[in-house]
């Protein structure tokens, strides 16, 4: 997937993320402070606006890096820092890449994961977006030989399984932290957002194949 195709894909990801606000709000109301959906909407509507006809970037890395900077500067909240960091650190690791291959995706997710863990001090099992990000990064690395279009569905699946698993976890960070036992049974909203970003990539790819 080249730079222009990546821009198009990320535009439709951004658009779909904005549409997901009500669902994300419900989940953050259940175990957080109810603003995660609005934060995602705020950040990705700014991303969508940025990725208009006039947007250009030298390479795939730059596309993702500009997205990260936009998220970081406009979202605020825990998820602004987290998703901004994911995109910025991930993009840095594939700076100059002309194509978004599965290998590039794996590198992006893996470097992003490291940065996110450093930034927030959380790790897998703490009931955060890391629990969707980490299995997705592993799956992408595993499938590095496959075409992006062929691998992405399985990466999504890994992320979604991660989301499922957050239901069994007790939150130890963020506003859900002190819910303790009461967070059991509810998925982590940030993990859902993480899986949705990947899912909307896959949906965009599928739609293009169908056309």
């Amino acid at each position: 997937m080249n730079t222009q195709e990546t821009i198009e894909m990320m535009r439709s990801v951004a658009h779909a993320m904005v549409q997901s606000e009500p669902m994300l709000t419900k989940f953050d109301q259940a175990i957080g402070d109810g603003d995660h959906g609005l934060g995602i909407e705020r950040g990705f509507s700014n991303v969508e606006a940025m990725l208009d006809e006039s947007f250009s970037a030298a390479d795939v890395g730059q596309v993702l890096q500009k997205i990260g900077t936009k998220l970081l500067s406009t979202m605020g909240g825990a998820s602004g820092a987290i998703f901004g960091t994911l995109f910025r650190a991930g993009a840095k690791s594939i700076a100059g890449a002309p194509q978004l291959t599965t290998e590039a995706l794996a590198q992006f997710l893996t470097a992003g994961l490291t940065a996110v863990c450093q930034r927030g001090g959380a790790s897998e099992g703490d009931k955060t977006m890391i629990d969707a990000l980490a299995p997705a990064a592993r799956k992408a690395a595993e499938l590095a030989e496959l075409e992006f279009e062929q691998a992405i569905a399985q990466v999504v699946e890994a992320a979604e399984q991660g989301v499922e698993q957050t239901k069994e976890m007790v939150a130890t960070t963020g506003k859900a932290k002190t819910l303790g036992e009461r967070s059991l049974g509810h998925p982590d909203p940030g993990a859902i957002s993480m899986s949705l970003i990947l899912k909307f990539m896959a949906e965009h790819v599928d739609a293009k194949v169908a056309v």
Binding site: G34, G39, K177
Partner: protein, 332 residues
């Protein structure tokens, strides 16, 4: 279930509009163009800059505590969302601080990360900073996990001490030490009896049954010690005061400042009745109250309930508390 009811304009614009409304009532501040952030007009760049901020929805916290003898600048995010690093960096840069920046804000993952990123960016620009994360909520974690405790209304005392110290002391480290001491001497705990709703959402963030309350509930609805049947105000206040007294190891002869703070929709009558019991508790302990604030100092939208904060004085902290201050929400 009852629905939230508020008189607003576009609920997506509340953070900006409330900030504009605040700025009109705070002529001693200057807004940063296009941002929900402001600095003191009379800031002296040679003093340590005390910089605060956080998500909207807690008015008059934090903007209300920017002014002479208090904080020097504030950055505000969207409702219950920390401001972004860009806004924080611009806020600090607008001060052109020559003696470093002391960040004072509530200990929440979102604030911590955004302020940390901002601090790193400032360092790149050659502006050193130190961070104090307010963690006065004694119910939110045990003393062994201080770094997990949330920040609530006690921020007022830390900002008061930090602001006074920054006016008085010229050494950065002295200001930091005074503010850190103030934080150690501050303890708070709250009780919620009805929930709040983010204006854009048309349902409440959590539910409390008609006959229930939750002691220790946080500013965004973070749980406390669990739901309990609604009892008497006196009983609830005693339970809160016990937690505070234990945390501060209060004993006869000690002197404190006390704040009984409305989380939002409680009647002023309930606050005063709680203030009565809180004072009686301290009297029985032999602890005297040097100054006593009762009102809306750190809110959670329309949450109903209150928090009590104690600020244990020593000679230094008392002198800092006694210094004059002028801001939207605090004048002495």
């Amino acid at each position: 279930m009852s629905k939230p009811k508020k008189l607003l304009n576009d609920p997506g614009e509340v953070a900006r509009e409330q900030f504009e409304g605040f700025m009109l009532a705070a002529p001693h501040l200057e807004a940063l163009p296009g941002m929900t952030a402001a600095i003191r007009k009379d800031f002296r760049p040679d003093k340590v800059a005390v910089v605060t901020g956080g998500g909207a929805g807690h008015e008059p916290m934090y903007g209300g505590y920017v002014g002479e003898g208090l904080a020097d600048a504030v950055s505000v995010g969207d409702v219950f969302a920390a401001p972004s690093p860009d806004v924080i960096v611009e806020t600090c840069s607008a001060l052109s601080p020559q003696n470093g920046v002391l960040f004072v804000y509530g200990n929440y993952a979102g604030d911590n990360m955004n302020y940390d990123i901002a601090a790193e960016l400032l360092e790149d620009e050659g502006i050193p900073s130190h961070t104090i994360r307010i963690n006065d909520d004694v119910i939110s974690a045990p003393p062994s996990l201080l770094e997990e405790r949330r920040g609530i209304a006690g921020a007022l005392y830390v900002l008061k001490a930090a602001g006074a110290a920054a006016e008085t002391y010229s050494e950065f480290d002295e200001v930091v030490a005074a503010a850190e001491k103030a934080l150690k001497h501050t303890a708070s705990a709250g009780v919620a009896i009805a929930p709040c709703a983010i204006p854009r959402n048309d349902s409440f963030n959590f539910e409390i049954a008609a006959d229930e309350i939750e002691i220790g509930m946080g500013l965004h609805g973070e749980p406390g010690v669990g739901k309990s049947k609604i009892s008497s105000s006196d009983q609830v206040v005693d339970q809160i005061m016990e937690a505070l007294a234990e945390d501060l190891s209060l004993k006869a002869g000690d002197e404190v400042c006390m704040l009984v703070n409305n989380l939002g929709a409680s009647t002023q009558m309930e606050l005063l009745i709680a203030n009565r019991a809180a004072n009686l508790y301290l009297q029985q302990l032999g602890v005297s109250v040097y100054d006593n604030l009762v009102g809306n100092y750190c809110t959670s939208l329309e949450m109903s309930g209150f928090s009590i904060s104690l600020f244990k004085l020593d000679e230094q902290l008392k002198a800092l508390y006694d210094q004059p201050c002028q801001s939207f929400a605090l004048r002495r």
